[in-house]
């Protein structure tokens, strides 16, 4: 493999499923008519792009990210990682920076690799709150008198504090009429929406006061909606709906649903930014800063600066990839290998047991 990579020198590597037969010979098999060329195993993957959040961030758009909108990705990592571990019982999960505008998630437990397309779609749907394409106003609709435990936990543990402590301010969500109008549009009761609208239009001047205008207006909105007289079913959910609309992870569903989707391998170099697709530690993902991820040219510089011990195995230890690689090995690769070994052993023992039993007979 190493020599083949050196020989071909690909500028990126995508990883797909393990197929039932050698993909290079798939055309030969296709002749036989029956579908023998089928994917049999594939990691469960998730792809989240910041560009899908364009309607709720004002600092950047498209493929650009900055430290003001990156927390949206942090939220996604926290929520999915917790649920994949606690709800679905997966253990071998790798998060990686996609090199430019998002994050990738690889769930590598053998149970995850063996999921069929329908089961993958079910997991993706379990995570999906954000519905409706470009042509619906209200995209998050939470029904029922209480939230599902997963959503409730996501809301109290992650979404609420990120929204109130970070995004409200960093994105200046209530700072202009255009922006608060978009939030008010999510309130189903027109009277309340226009009442708040009028109030905020009137006291534009008072925003000079020390209190931040975004925080003040959010508090006003909350008290109005949650005050006794508006306890109606639809409105009680409304505060949560707004928070979910502005923070909840937006997955690229198609990527997760099908076994045969390709995804860029970790540690590739993004062709546009030159940044390395480094792993992200979900337990410390608050500290991750996409703008300081090493680039290819930076690594070259570091290697050169360290002197010319060319071709030595451990050159990476003297570059800024040292930490990411160590993390990859200790937190992901080694536990994963151990689990694979144990699985093989127990399968072998089971077989041994079986053959012993049949011999005894």
């Amino acid at each position: 493999m190493e020599s083949s990579i050196k020989e071909k020198c690909p500028f990126k590597i995508d990883i797909g499923p393990v197929y039932s037969v050698d993909p290079a010979k798939r055309h030969a098999y296709a002749q036989s008519g029956n579908n023998v060329f089928v994917p049999v195993e594939r990691e469960l993957i998730f792809d989240i792009d910041i560009s899908d959040y364009d309607d709720v961030r004002y600092c950047c758009s498209g493929a650009d990210v900055c430290k003001d909108c990156w927390p949206l990705m942090t939220i996604a990592i926290k929520i999915l990682d917790a649920s994949l571990r606690d709800d679905f019982g997966f253990n071998h999960i790798l998060w990686a920076y996609s090199g430019r505008r998002g994050v990738h998630c690889w769930v590598c437990d053998s149970r995850a690799r063996k999921l069929n397309n329908e089961q993958r779609a079910a997991i993706a749907d379990y995570f999906r709150v954000y519905k409706g394409g470009e042509n619906t106003m209200k995209k998050v609709s939470l029904t029922g008198p209480v939230l599902h435990p997963f959503l409730a936990r996501s809301y109290t543990d992650v979404l609420k504090c990120f929204f109130e402590d970070k995004l409200l301010l960093s994105q200046q969500l209530f700072a202009s009429e255009e922006r608060y109008r978009k939030i008010l549009d999510l309130i189903p009761d027109e009277n309340i929406a226009s009442e708040l609208h009028d109030r905020w239009q009137g006291n534009r001047r008072s925003s000079i006061s020390k209190e931040d205008v975004n925080a003040t207006r959010w508090e006003q909105l909350k008290t109005t909606l949650q005050s006794g007289k508006h306890k109606a079913q639809g409105l009680r959910r409304c505060v949560e709906e707004i928070v979910f609309s502005y923070t909840y992870p937006r997955l690229d569903m198609e990527v997760s649903k099908h076994m045969n989707h390709l995804l860029k391998a970790p540690f590739c170099i993004h062709p546009k930014t030159g940044r390395v697709c480094v792993p992200i530690d979900p337990n410390n993902c608050d500290d991750f800063d996409p703008t300081t991820v090493p680039t290819l040219s930076q690594l070259l510089g570091e290697l050169n600066a360290a002197g010319l011990h060319s071709n030595s195995e451990n050159d990476w230890e003297r570059t800024s990839l040292e930490k990411p690689i160590r993390f990859f090995r200790t937190a992901f690769l080694q536990p994963m290998l151990k689990a694979c070994k144990e699985e093989l052993e127990s399968a072998y023992n089971a077989k041994l047991q079986q053959s012993k039993n049949s011999l005894a007979w």
Partner: protein
């Protein structure tokens, strides 16, 4: 199952899905699991008539699904359809008809991937709602018949998660008093309950309430039928088709065409549309969903995957040749991503749709039912506008098509009642000034009907001009 013409016995070829075993266990309420084909003599007339009756039920279910009916409504619909088409005074006869018709249709719908998918999904839906109507005792009997290895959750474990179970129950609008019987099941077994967040999940296990076991049973049912269909297809190809070429084969082939509607994978009557006509045709003859995507494509020079599939296959069905299709998409996409990236990343999937790459299947354009059941996400423009647009956006889009006033209100009324295809039919009528009795159930049908109407109108204008 033996097939008998009048009173004369003939060779039992159509024991298609593997004979043996008596009539399989009917459950107390008479819901069979169709594990084995029964040893029965069947008259050739009944062979066909029973199958047609069952097809009516399945077709009715397909209609219900495409209108986006809610589970309660579906339950009522299935119950009614079944009563009308399948009931007999004699319960034993009803059971026979049920089983015979199922196995006949299995033969009919085993022959292509597309047919199998349709049949599997309709039979599964039918089974699901019939199961819900069974009594708890017969539900339990069916569970054991499928040999589901699950035991009810022991009391101590139940108490530990009781609060969470109650929270889930309330989140889906049930009362907070938790049912007492739960099964602990790997999440892989109940994908539908996971997808809709109707169960509590912990460490890879779901807690399935007695009232939800239908999902468990249905997964099993679906899996059995799916495997059986593939087997039946093999037998059909290997032996039955040839052996029965004078007797069953014609019936089977006629049955699958009779109710499935025309096939739009190949443009009919060799109609061709050319690149330069697309915008003109879009204004006059594209259904709203396709017109909308063309507009967005022209505006953004990009469409996401779902849109490329829905719109691309529609164009193919309407008669756009592969070379023209490549030129069409390249012209737009290259403005956004550059023609080099287009050739590398997008051209493949267009050739794929035309059966020139990969599996080399010639893909069929999406039907309304498929489009309606799509779930467009961020940045997506595909799907059915009548279902997926917000009210304001839909009104604006229809206004742009020149529809307003009374017809518009009528359309919006259909939309509110979730009759999306009827709404589209009304739009067709309003836009063309003629009635459309067949109703719209395929975007390519909308297109070809529209072309027909316009042709007649043009001829009328021309003949007026010459006289």
């Amino acid at each position: 199952m033996e097939i008998v013409r009048s009173h004369r016995q003939l060779a039992a070829a159509a024991a298609a899905a593997g004979g043996g075993g008596g009539v399989d266990g009917g459950g107390a309420g008479g819901l069979p699991t169709y594990r084995t084909a029964p040893q029965l003599e069947v008259r050739l007339e009944e062979f066909e008539l029973f199958a047609i009756d069952r097809l009516r039920v399945l077709k009715g279910i397909a209609d219900g699904l495409s209108r986006g009916k809610r589970p309660e409504e579906m339950e009522k619909l299935v119950n009614e359809l079944w009563k009308v088409h399948m009931r007999h005074q004699d319960p034993a006869e009803t059971l026979n008809k049920d089983i015979i018709s199922h196995f006949v249709l299995r033969l009919v719908y085993c022959r292509t991937e597309e047919l199998r998918k349709w049949f599997l999904s309709m039979e599964t839906t039918l089974f699901r709602y019939r199961f819900r109507l069974e009594s708890p005792e017969s539900q339990r009997m069916l569970m054991s018949e499928f040999q589901l290895p699950y035991k009810a959750l022991p009391h101590s474990e139940f108490e530990a998660v009781k609060d969470k179970l109650s929270q889930v129950a309330r989140s889906i609008g049930q009362s907070a008093t938790v049912e007492s019987v739960f099964f602990k099941v790997p999440f892989e077994e109940v994908p539908d309950l996971v997808a809709s967040r109707r169960v509590f999940l912990s460490k890879g296990y779901t807690y399935v309430a007695m009232s939800q076991v239908v999902s468990l049973v249905v997964t099993q049912f679906r899996c059995n039928i799916s495997k059986a269909l593939v087997l039946t297809n093999r037998k059909w190809m290997a032996t039955i088709k040839e052996q029965e070429k004078d007797r069953l084969t014609p019936i089977v082939e006629a049955l699958s065409n009779a109710y499935f509607g025309p096939d739009y994978s190949q443009p009919k009557d060799a109609v061709e549309i050319s690149l330069k006509d697309i915008d003109q045709l879009a204004r006059t003859s594209f259904p709203l969903c396709m017109h909308h995507m063309l507009e967005k494509l022209r505006e953004n020079h990009h469409l996401k995957h779902g849109g490329r599939m829905q719109f691309g296959l529609f164009l193919k069905g309407a008669g756009l040749k592969l070379e023209d299709a490549l030129a069409f998409w390249r012209a737009e996409f290259s403005q956004k991503v550059g023609s080099e990236r287009f050739d590398k990343e997008y051209a493949y999937s267009i050739r794929h749709n035309y059966g020139k790459e990969g599996k080399r299947t010639d893909y069929t354009p999406y039907s309304c039912q498929k489009i309606i059941s799509a779930t467009p996400g961020v940045g997506d423009h595909h799907g059915c506008p009548y279902r997926h647009f917000g009210e304001e956006n839909l009104r604006a889009a229809l206004n742009k098509m020149g529809i307003s006033g009374h017809p518009l209100e009528e359309i919006m009324d259909k939309v509110k009642n979730r009759h999306y295809q009827l709404a589209c039919t009304l739009t067709f009528e309003a836009a063309h000034g003629v009635s459309c009795d067949t109703g719209i159930n395929h975007p390519n049908q909308y297109f070809s009907e529209s072309q027909k109407v316009l042709k007649v109108k043009n001829q009328a204008v021309q003949s007026q001009a010459t006289t």
